[in-house]
Each structure stands twice: as structure tokens, then as C-alpha cells.
């Protein structure tokens, strides 16, 4: 074998647990003392396992925990359980609240991966090219975590601390994400991305969340994917737009400022200069779509 794994038929002697409660899962993680890996859909984990990059004594499969599955829409908040799949989220009727999530879930990888890949997996892995993170960032979502002692909630921007690095402690489980409800009469959201091939990773992506008042931009949040170590807010674009008219021209002018807050690198997906140009274009597209969905004119 060339993949460095000890057993030529694949697989290790790791233990495998399938707890049915969050408490039981946290207990397993705690007992393993940092030597356990959480398994949800496995769509990110398995390529790492296949390459021999996962060194674990135990796998804790959280897919049988009912509490972690599904979308809960309350008057003031929307919560998405960690094991909710991309396919489930894409099908869910969140269209009047957070269409950007549907946009992102419909372009992640391909049909097979979307059937199993989960929201919690995307958040816990912390890969800035993952399409779902920018919309969650623009929705000002928080990550919910549990450990044997209790639960906590962390803003996504604080949870994602670097490339593939998060604030999750070894005995903690990501249980879901939550964000404030938008005003369906006045708010719109969208996500736009570009990838070299349809099922490939994003070269760059942009999510916009816009709330309008009398044709003006009352509130706006823009976040970009794949152009920094983490998803990043485009504050310069936001500041340029807020309080002004929600017109094509205003959006075009503001979008030119997208490169100010991003830090792309040269890689096989494209040069940093190309990604700065691309990010500005995608920010513009996502803003125009969000304004339109908010009931504005563009």
C-alpha cells in the first residue's frame, strides 16, 4: 500500500460508538481524552481516513442522536441541528428567511455528497472553501456546543479561528447553528460562488444579507468564502452601502471595495489577483440577488 496505513485491507482497530444522546456522545469524547473523532456524514472525514491522516482510538458516530437532526424555526430564531444534511437543508422551506443557505447547499460538491454531508461537519471542519460557512457568517450565526459539563454558544466568527482550526475543545460536540430571524417582508439573502468545475471547491464565494427600508439599505452583512483563512466579512462593502440607496449603481460601487477585507493566496484554483477580482464580482451578484429577494428593484 502506498497510503501509509498499517493494514493493507484498510481500517484500524479503533472503537466505534453510536450514542443516542448528546450527553452520551460527550461522555465518549471525554473518555477518549482527545483520541476520538466525531463522525457525522463522513464526507470530509473519510477522505482523510483513506489517506491515513486520521489517528484515532475511537469514532463517535453522532448520526443516531435525534436531537441533532433537523431545522427548527421559531418566531425569533432559526436553529439547524448538526447532523442536518445539505440535501435536507436545500429542501427545507427556509426560502423566506435564509435563501442563501439553499443557494449554498445546492452547489456543495455533488448530489451524493450532499445526501450525507452535514451542517455540523462543515462548521466543525472549518475549511474556508466550504460554501455553507459564508452564508452562516453573513447571517451572524452562532455555533452551539455541548460538553459533559454543559452547553455554550459562540459566534461563528469567533469559532472559526483559522484554516481548519476552530474553538472546539476536544471533549466538545458541535450540536448545531442558530441565527436571528430576518424580517421576511424586508430582508433578502443570497450566495454566489465560482468553481472551476461544477462539483469542485469554490475558487471564491460571497454571501449577502440585506434588510431594506423605503428603498434604502437599512442593514447589510456580506461574507466571502475561500479568500482568507476563514470566511471573512466584507466590512468596507457593508459600510459603503448601509444607509444609502439599494440601487444597481450603489451596489456596483460598494462591491469594488470587497478586496479591502480579504486575503486570498495564489494556488491551483487561481492567483490572488484573480480571486480579488472574482470576489468583487461575486459580492456584487450576491448583493443584487439579496436586494431583489428583499423586494428591492435591482
Amino acid at each position: 500500500m502506498t497510503d501509509g496505513r498499517a493494514d493493507a485491507t484498510g481500517g484500524t482497530e479503533a472503537d466505534y460508538y453510536r450514542p443516542e444522546t448528546v450527553a452520551a456522545a460527550c461522555r465518549r469524547l471525554h473518555e477518549a481524552d482527545g483520541r476520538a473523532r466525531v463522525v457525522a456524514g463522513g464526507q470530509t472525514l473519510m477522505p482523510l481516513v483513506r489517506q491515513g491522516l486520521v489517528d484515532a482510538d475511537a469514532f463517535v458516530d453522532v448520526s443516531a442522536i435525534p436531537e441533532l437532526s433537523g431545522v427548527a424555526v421559531a418566531d425569533d430564531r432559526t436553529s439547524i441541528g448538526a447532523t442536518t444534511t445539505y440535501a435536507e437543508l436545500a429542501r427545507h422551506d427556509l426560502s423566506d428567511r435564509a435563501a442563501a443557505l439553499g443557494d449554498a447547499c445546492s452547489v456543495v460538491a455533488d448530489r451524493q455528497v450532499r445526501a450525507l454531508g452535514t451542517v455540523g461537519g462543515a462548521v466543525a471542519h472549518g475549511d474556508p472553501t466550504f460554501d455553507l460557512l459564508a452564508p452562516l457568517c453573513a447571517l451572524a450565526a452562532s455555533v452551539e456546543l455541548a460538553d459533559p459539563d454543559g452547553r455554550r454558544r459562540v459566534p461563528l466568527g469567533e469559532f472559526l479561528v483559522g484554516h481548519l482550526r476552530t474553538d472546539r475543545r476536544e471533549n466538545e460536540l458541535v450540536t448545531g447553528v442558530t441565527f436571528d430571524r430576518l424580517d421576511p417582508e424586508r430582508a433578502g439573502t443570497a450566495y454566489e460562488r465560482h468553481a472551476a468545475v461544477e462539483s469542485g471547491r469554490a475558487t471564491a464565494g460571497a454571501a449577502a444579507v440585506v434588510t431594506l427600508a423605503d428603498g434604502a439599505v437599512e442593514r447589510v452583512r456580506v461574507a466571502c468564502s475561500a479568500v482568507a483563512d476563514t470566511p471573512v466579512r466584507a466590512h468596507a462593502v457593508e459600510n459603503d452601502l448601509v444607509g444609502g440607496p439599494a440601487t444597481d449603481a450603489a451596489v456596483a460601487t460598494a462591491s469594488e471595495r470587497a478586496p479591502e477585507d480579504i486575503d486570498p493566496i495564489d494556488d491551483e484554483a487561481g492567483s490572488a489577483a484573480y480571486k480579488r477580482r472574482l470576489a468583487a464580482t461575486l459580492v456584487e451578484r450576491s448583493l443584487l440577488s439579496a436586494v431583489r429577494r428583499a423586494g428591492g428593484s435591482p
Binding site: 484500524t12 466505534y16 448530489r111 451524493q112
Partner: protein
């Protein structure tokens, strides 16, 4: 660990390490050789199977997860079903050359047509984007699947 599951209508019980791939389990322990080994990293779709009816890439499914579930390979597609209709359409439209990717394509197409019986070409193209073919250039594959969708659409 021991996993028991339904493979093409037959109950199987296999001793396996939990973190092997379902693709290995199927090919090496169950002789399900229609499940092809391609990239082994989730990119090519040659190992696509139906897990409880949904198309998934067997190389990305941890073997432990199959316990208690149902796996359908192209061998389990019965006469008179939509899956057989898709296979026949591949033949009619010359939608295969070397054939290595074909089982995966047939199962992805089957899952997609189950959801959208009269899907248009663009929807089908997107639904099949997780499967790679290095021979045909895809147009004949899309012709085949689209023909099934058109017949289904007219029948409704």
C-alpha cells in the same frame, strides 16, 4: 465489529474494521464487483451505490455505518423497474464505452429520476456531476437519461 445489512435483497453479515470504506466492504468481502474502485477519494463516483435508496459514494461511507441498512448496487436493479429502464436507455443511446463508470452513473440517474421523474437536461446534468466518465464526453449519457425522463414526463 460486525455489521449486518441488506445487499441487493440478501442479508449479509461481515466482520470489519469500523473505518474501512463501504466500497472495500462490498468489493472485498461481498464480491460486489459492479461497485467500481476509482479515485477512492470521493471525486469520481464510480463506486456510487444506493444506501436506503439514496445515491452515495461508497468510498466515503464508513463501513460501520451500513449496519442495519440497505445497499443496492446495479446488480440489484430488477427487471421492470425504473433502474432497468435507465440501463436499457444507456444501451440504446450507446452511453457507455469502457463501461467502468456506468454502474455509478445508472444509480445516480436512478436516484435523481426518483426525485424528479421528468427532470430537464440541465437538472440531470447537475444531478450527474458527481460521476466522471473519461470516454463518452457525457452527451450520450445525458441523452440516455433525458430520454427516460421524457418518457416518464409523457406518461404522467
Amino acid at each position: 465489529m460486525r455489521v449486518s445489512f441488506d445487499l441487493d435483497g440478501e442479508e449479509r453479515t461481515v466482520e470489519t474494521a469500523p473505518d474501512r470504506s463501504l466500497r472495500e466492504l462490498l468489493r472485498e468481502d461481498c464480491d460486489a464487483l459492479s461497485v467500481k474502485a476509482g479515485c477512492d477519494g470521493g471525486r469520481c463516483g464510480a463506486c456510487t451505490v444506493l444506501l436506503d435508496g439514496e445515491a452515495v459514494k461508497a468510498c466515503l461511507v464508513m463501513a460501520a455505518k451500513v449496519d442495519g441498512r440497505s445497499v443496492t448496487t446495479v446488480e440489484g436493479v430488477a427487471d421492470g423497474t425504473l433502474g432497468r429502464e435507465v440501463q436499457d436507455a444507456f444501451e440504446d443511446h450507446s452511453a457507455l464505452q469502457c463501461g467502468y463508470c456506468t454502474p455509478g452513473f445508472v444509480l445516480s440517474a436512478l436516484a435523481s429520476l426518483d426525485d424528479h421523474p421528468d427532470a430537464d437536461r440541465e437538472t440531470l446534468r447537475s444531478a450527474l456531476s458527481g460521476n466522471v466518465c473519461r470516454c463518452t464526453g457525457y452527451e450520450k449519457i445525458l441523452d440516455a437519461v433525458e430520454a427516460v425522463a421524457e418518457r416518464r414526463g409523457e406518461a404522467e
